[in-house]
């Protein structure tokens, strides 16, 4: 460090951005398209296993998957991480959880958020349902979050 400082140090705010366009492709594209219709679809392999979000290839044997099936808008919490104090970039401003949710009848799990609950209400195995965003963008954000089903 030099000893002399004529004025205060200069500071500036920067925003580093990587703007790029991407195509979700025919399978995830269809999944997003249907989200905007408030419909959840997955892909089905020859053994009848169903993957949600729709997978383009079978995660085990890499078969190309093209058969779409509609699934229920309810599922089960497989695991979760509680976010006590959301930061500026989080979409939900109150405490919420990131969770892996296995939709009913599927053989996979989907990463999304669970909101409108307290930390001690949430546990693995809890049943949750989709809450839709009013505004549709044909992205995963068309699902606003999941919430616990009162039983």
């Amino acid at each position: 460090m030099t000893k002399s400082v004529d004025k205060e140090l200069l500071r500036a705010s920067f925003k580093l951005e990587y703007p790029y366009e991407r195509s979700p492709g025919p399978v995830i594209g269809k999944f997003f398209e249907e989200l905007s219709n408030e419909v959840l679809v997955g892909t089905k392999n020859s053994k009848g296993e169903i993957f949600v979000p729709a997978a383009e290839f079978d995660p085990k044997d890499s078969d190309h998957l093209s058969e779409f099936v509609e699934v229920k808008k309810e599922g089960v919490v497989q695991s979760y991480t509680w976010i006590e104090k959301p930061r500026a970039h989080h979409l939900i401003k109150e405490s919420f959880a990131f969770a892996l949710i296995s939709m009913d009848g599927t053989n996979s799990a989907m990463l999304h958020m669970i909101a409108n609950c307290k930390e001690d209400e949430l546990e693995i195995g809890k049943r949750v349902k989709v809450v839709w965003n009013e505004e549709k963008t044909k992205t995963i954000r068309d699902i606003k979050y999941f919430e616990i089903i009162d039983e």
Partner: protein, 163 residues
């Protein structure tokens, strides 16, 4: 790119951060705000650095002696940019060049304009074109770009870092 534009969406990955210039860069930019390019000289190897970073990377010692350099220099290296970058207001093709100011031992990146692209070459003499004084701030953008002076080229061997 697909003709069906609707199949594409813009990803919004971004990172907001605060940049603190530090002593050497703050001093340099405060002088740039007065229209001066002030370098720092190494007390050991006497290499002249502009923009200064407060120390000599070769000798590992602080550089406190300052000296003002002219706004003239030569092209040490250059690239003609043909591909537009999103958010960049400069319309391609344009020249990005490493400019070695007269009296400096390192170069810095700036634009060269007022030139026929076919004429740009290493060793070409250039001079800064400053913005209107009323628009000056603590930024190297006070220099709009560099333009050729029309003087004879320098021998590229002068760019060799002094031993």
């Amino acid at each position: 790119m697909s003709e069906e534009k609707k199949d594409f969406f813009v990803s919004d990955i971004s990172l907001s951060y605060q940049y603190t210039a530090g002593n050497a860069t703050t001093r340099f930019l405060n002088k740039v705000a007065e229209g001066k390019l002030v370098a720092q000289k190494c007390p050991k190897c006497s290499a002249v650095y502009v923009p200064p970073r407060g120390s000599c990377p070769r000798c590992g010692v602080a550089t406190e002696e300052e000296l003002e350099l002219p706004d003239t220099g030569a092209v040490e290296s250059f690239t003609i940019v043909h591909i537009p970058i999103p958010g960049n207001p400069i319309v391609p093709p344009y020249v990005s060049a490493m400019i070695r100011l007269d009296g400096a031992d390192i170069s810095f990146l700036h634009l060269i304009q007022e030139i026929d692209l076919a004429d740009i070459r290493i060793g070409m003499r250039v001079q800064a074109v400053w913005k209107d004084k009323s628009d000056w701030g603590t930024t190297l953008e006070n220099i709009k770009w560099f333009k050729p002076t029309g003087e004879d080229d320098v021998d590229p061997s002068v760019f060799k870092f002094k031993e």
